[in-house]
Symmetry: C2
DNA sequence: TAGCTTTTGAAACTCAATTTCAGTGGCTTG
DNA sequence: CAAGCCACTGAAATTGAGTTTCAAAAGCTA
């Protein structure tokens, strides 16, 4: 089941409504490969849909996170970011502190060591956050 | 050189002043094993020193981070936290999402893998953030 | 001690996030 | 397919952490 269907089904089961705005925001969000903040997505949407308000974008992104088709990221710049979630493709992030570029990485050995650490402290992991901050190749010259 | 001396020396070199408030805040901060937010440290200080203002606590914590005796943490609850920094003792965190307990962990093999990942993308790491969120043993029953 | 400069604390301000509310518009039922 | 309920929308107001302002207070240096 694709993410649009997951979202629509979530709306149904919660008794929420399938509105024009929500569909436009969903489409724009899924089309992008980007890690949008609310403000950034709002600005992109405004180009074609100037009537859609900031609050609606914000509420809709929250809904995406609630129904599991997006995750909320926070890179410490004071703005939450959202990315479309691929359940079969977990990854973490390299964040360039100069140009803002975000690189995704996968390292199963780190995931394994995380599980070991959690076990060591009798801790049940629900989620994690792992980011490396520094300079991407372009910005380190 | 202990952390109080590092701070005092930092004040000197920057032409800043060694004030009563700064010394009280430093002492209280270092005495605690805790990961205080500005608000929390402010509340603790208020008990014995009701005249110290929130802004002063905030500015002083920033100074601690600047001079390297503390690090700023962010666990995604919208409040920055600060912890005394031991330069010879890097660690990451397990954060209980129920009771807020914070457990520190050290896993050199993860650090090593991080370096490998960075190299893979020609990325120069300046810092990183690694947190596991879930239930501590008390809260998982 | 004088005098210059930084600091302090209260209050104001900033900015993203969130809430409010009156008007709008899906959706379901008869 | 019309009526009516209830969620939704968007603008504006509010919240809350963080930051800045400013006049009075307090360090520091000569």
């Amino acid at each position: 089941m694709d993410r649009a269907s997951v979202f629509n089904q979530y709306l149904r089961t919660k008794g929420l409504k399938n509105t024009r705005q929500r569909m436009i925001i969903l489409e724009t969000f899924l089309d992008s490969a980007s890690h949008y903040s609310t403000e950034e997505l709002y600005q992109v949407l405004r180009q074609d849909h100037p009537r859609i308000g900031y609050a609606t974008v914000h509420r809709t992104l929250k809904l995406f996170a609630e129904c599991g088709i997006a995750t909320e990221l926070n890179f410490g710049d004071g703005q939450a970011r959202f990315e479309p979630l691929y359940t079969d493709h977990h990854h973490d992030h390299l964040v360039c502190t100069r140009c803002g570029k975000i690189i995704e990485f996968v390292e199963p050995r780190i995931e394994q060591l995380q599980r070991e650490v959690a076990q060591r402290y009798d801790f049940t992991v629900e989620s994690h956050r792992h980011e490396l901050y520094g300079r991407c190749i372009k910005c380190s010259q």
